[in-house]
Structure formats: structure tokens, C-alpha cells
């Protein structure tokens, strides 16, 4: 988390107080852990494991065996094991904004359950499927091929948790009367949750645009998802920044003059 604090160092509050005295420091630390987590996440899934961009479901057995036994998969598994807890922090940042909204707590608690499940089934489990192949040489190619399918299908085909989470977030934004996050972001987020559904055919197609490495199922989903994730992230940052200090949970503990 040290990276996040350093990144935060350049920001000071309006009164010119140093960053470490910022009254929203808890939210900012958690917020800045997100780019740190995504950097590790990118490192794990792209240059370390070369799991992304996805290999073909139609790969020949020797290629599958070679990939599944690549020793770097274990470094990727180790880093991901150490980093996976940070996904909880990133999701908690969203939940805190949902708590500020004039909506039922049901949205954020549904979101919370989705976040718990999603981290295992859509992140840790798939990486471990690949790591297991690399951990012990000598497994039957059939077993490696099953782990390969299980890994890719659970990583790319994990749509339910994200559909749930983005729907809860989008609906909260739209139903909120406090204007915590902009309304257009609510529609955009709902659209993102619906676009999660384009990945459904990966459970059927073994080649072509709807396979897990296909133009529609993977590349289109990424083109839609990545900008959305960045935009939502910037909006959350602005929402944290613009929250009046008098509305902070611990405002009653601060001397009144500090936020007059």
C-alpha cells in the first residue's frame, strides 16, 4: 500500500494541510490502493503468466501442456495470492459511495456479497487452475486440458457477479437523490452490466468470435469495460473530493471551526 500513499502525497487539502492530515485519508488510502491492485493484476495476468490475451480454446494438446507447465505461472499465483485481498478494498470504496446515496442498504450489501464471491470464482480460482498445472510436472495432459478450460472459463465466463455488482451500482446512482455520482454514470454503468452478458457464449463456442478468445466475447467486452472502469474510478475520486467535511462520519469528532 506504500505506493498508494506516495501517489497521494501530491494532494493537499484546501486549507493547505499536509496529505497525512487529510480528514478523508482513510478513503484516499483505499482509493489509491486500486491502481496499485490493478497494476499487480495486469502484471500477473499479462507478462508473468501470459494468460492474457487469452489463448485459444482450440489449442492443440502440446501447446496446452507447454503453457500449463510454464514456471512463471507460479510467480503469478504468488503475487495474486498476496494481492487478492486488495480487491476487497477497491469494492469497499464503491460501497462507501453507495452508502452516501439515498437508497436502501440492500444495494450495497448485494454488491458486497458479489464482491466476495467474484474475487474467488473470477480471479483467484482461475489463476490457481493454471498454477496447479505448473506446480507439479507429470500430470496427464487430459488433466492439464481440464484445468486450462476451467481456468479460462471461470476467468472470462464469470459474468454473474459482475452483472450483479454493476447493476446494483448503476441502479443506486439512478435512484439516488443526493447526486453523489452523476446520473449519466448510472446509465453508463447499467449499460456496462448488460454488456457483461455478451460473454455468455464462451460457455458454448470453442472457436470464432464468441469463443473465450473471440472478437465479441473478449475483445469487445474489454473495449467496453476498460474505459468504463476508468471513468467510474475518476467519478468516484471526484465524489470523495467533493464530499463536504461536515458530512463525514467523524465530523462530530472534529472541532467545528475546521469545516466552517
Amino acid at each position: 500500500m506504500s505506493g498508494s500513499i506516495t501517489a497521494d502525497g501530491q494532494y493537499t487539502t484546501q486549507q493547505g494541510t499536509p496529505w497525512y492530515k487529510n480528514k478523508k485519508l482513510d478513503q484516499l488510502i483505499c482509493f489509491w490502493s486500486v491502481p496499485f491492485f490493478y497494476s499487480l493484476f495486469g502484471l500477473v495476468f499479462v507478462p508473468l503468466s501470459w494468460m492474457m490475451p487469452p489463448r485459444s480454446p482450440a489449442s492443440a494438446m502440446p501447446q496446452i501442456v507447454e503453457f500449463m507447465q510454464s514456471p512463471k505461472l507460479l510467480i503469478a499465483c504468488t503475487i495474486l495470492t498476496l494481492a487478492v485481498g486488495l480487491s476487497a478494498v477497491g469494492n469497499a470504496v464503491y460501497m462507501c459511495q453507495m452508502k452516501r446515496m439515498s437508497v436502501s442498504p440492500v444495494f450495497r450489501f448485494a454488491f458486497m456479497a458479489g464482491a466476495m464471491t467474484g474475487a474467488i470464482v473470477g480471479c483467484l480460482f482461475p489463476m490457481f487452475c493454471f498454477g496447479l498445472g505448473a506446480f507439479r510436472s507429470g500430470y496427464d495432459p487430459e488433466i492439464l486440458a481440464m484445468l486450462y478450460d476451467f481456468g479460462y472459463l471461470s476467468f472470462i465466463g464469470c459474468m454473474g457477479c459482475f452483472f450483479l455488482n454493476w447493476s446494483c451500482l448503476g441502479l443506486s446512482i439512478l435512484l439516488d437523490t443526493n447526486n453523489t455520482l452523476p446520473k449519466w454514470l448510472g446509465y453508463y454503468t447499467l449499460w456496462q452490466s448488460v454488456s457483461e452478458l455478451v460473454i455468455a457464449p464462451v460457455w458454448i463456442a470453442k472457436s470464432g468470435p464468441f469463443a473465450w478468445d473471440g472478437l465479441m466475447s473478449f475483445w469487445l467486452a474489454m473495449v467496453i469495460y476498460v474505459p468504463w472502469q476508468m471513468i467510474v474510478y475518476i467519478c468516484v475520486y471526484r465524489a470523495i473530493k467533493s464530499q463536504p467535511e461536515s458530512e463525514l462520519d467523524n465530523a462530530h469528532l472534529m472541532p467545528a471551526a475546521n469545516y466552517a
Partner: protein, 234 residues
């Protein structure tokens, strides 16, 4: 409002502790962890020779894991009382608990399935055993985040009379650091970092056991102080 609920749930922790001690001393796979260098045939033979005890561990661990959740839930409830600007650390904490517990239970189930039919193909027994160890190691990452979130929450407590004493934050940072070597068990088959090694197995389990015991005592004090300070009925 009263703290009776917190007190009842908190006392599941020593029960988990007793079950853990029982499982640890009664069952060989716990006290002498299997080496990751064992071949699938050796693993299958080990499972066939220890059917009853491994089944015992599987059933006990299922319960022990779940019985630790109330302690973590009580910590979350107390974190929500801390004077932070938002509940972000408490929410992170409880989500991390959910992830870690799921991983732990998956480890338990992988061993359970392996021992359910020990005469299965040794390749499959070995795969389930490896999978179990991977998921047994996985909660390291969530415990690190839990502890750092709790520590951060304590350091930033704006209350004039803090909920948690400050040393609890230092203690949580220290235990988080001591858990880190455990994750490297996924990369090493021999030496102290292997899953049966001194750093990955002994240090991690001892750290965790001490951590749970200390936090149980801390939480007992805090819940009882909540009674004094907020006038809630015990």
C-alpha cells in the same frame, strides 16, 4: 441495544481454539505436514493409510473455519464505531473475511473429496491435494489486507477516546508482515518456504493462532468497555 450478541458470538472463538488444538494433536496431516515433493503415488498411499484421521481433519476444519467468522464480524462491528471519515476499512475488512473464508473452505473440500474415495486415480488425488494446499495458502493475502485495514482504521481514529488501543494497530501490522512468507509456498517445493517449511507452515500457523488468541482478548475488553461508555446493557 446491548452487547449480549457480540459476547455470545465472541465466545465461539475459544471453542474454535479447542477444536483446533484437538485436530492438531490428534491428526498426523496437521502435525507433520505432507511434503510437496511427494509423487502422486506417494500422496495417494498417504491418503489411503490415514483415511480416518484426514476425514477428521476435514470435518473439524470445516467447523473451525466457520467458527472464526464471528470474531472477525465482531471486529467489523467495532471498526464501524471507530472515528473514521467513512466505513471503508470496515467494509474492506468484512469482504476480505468472506474471500479468505471461501478459500479456506475450498481447501477443506478439496481434501474432503480426495479422501472420500482414496482409491481414486493417484493423479486425481494428488491434484486435489495440491489444490487444497493452494487454497490453504490463499487466505494469507486476505488476512494481510484485513490486518492492514484494521491498523489503518486505528491509526486514523479521530475519537478522543479511541475504540481500539494503539498497540493493537502495531500488532496487526506485525502479524501481517509475518504472514507474507506463507504466500511463497506456491513457488517452492523445498526449504523453509515450501508449504511444509518453517516459514510457510509453522510460522504462519503459530502467528495466526497467537493473533486469534490476542484479538479475542482485545475484543472482550473492547466490547465490555462499550458497555461502560455507551451505557448499553451487557
Amino acid at each position: 441495544m446491548n452487547t449480549r450478541g457480540q459476547n455470545i458470538l465472541l465466545w465461539t472463538t475459544p471453542v474454535a481454539g479447542v477444536l483446533f488444538l484437538f485436530a492438531y494433536f490428534m491428526f498426523p496431516p496437521f502435525s507433520g505436514p505432507m511434503s510437496p515433493t511427494m509423487t502422486p503415488e506417494q500422496v495417494a498411499a498417504f491418503f489411503r493409510e490415514n483415511v480416518a484421521s484426514i476425514r477428521g481433519v476435514v470435518i473439524f476444519c470445516n467447523l473451525i473455519g466457520a467458527m472464526l467468522v464471528p470474531l472477525f464480524a465482531t471486529i467489523t462491528v467495532q471498526m464501524l464505531r471507530v472515528g473514521n471519515s467513512s466505513p471503508v476499512f470496515a467494509y474492506s475488512y468484512i469482504i476480505a473475511v468472506g474471500i479468505g473464508m471461501t478459500a479456506f473452505i475450498l481447501a477443506d473440500f478439496a481434501w474432503g473429496v480426495a479422501i472420500f474415495r482414496p482409491d481414486r486415480d493417484p493423479q486425481l488425488i494428488s491434484l486435489l491435494n495440491d489444490m487444497a494446499w493452494f487454497f490453504f495458502v490463499a487466505p494469507v493475502g486476505t488476512i494481510i489486507v484485513q490486518n492492514l485495514c484494521l491498523a489503518g482504521s486505528i491509526y486514523l481514529d479521530a475519537r478522543p477516546d479511541p475504540v481500539f488501543p494503539r498497540w493493537v494497530a502495531h500488532f496487526n501490522v506485525l502479524t501481517a508482515v509475518l504472514m507474507v512468507p506463507g504466500a511463497f509456498a506456491l513457488m517452492h517445493k523445498t526449504g523453509p518456504l515450501a508449504w511444509d517449511g518453517s516459514l510457510s507452515f509453522s510460522l504462519r500457523l503459530i502467528t495466526f493462532a497467537v493473533y486469534v488468541a490476542v484479538m479475542f482478548c482485545v475484543l472482550l475488553t473492547i466490547v465490555n468497555r462499550q458497555v461502560e461508555h455507551e451505557g448499553v446493557v451487557a
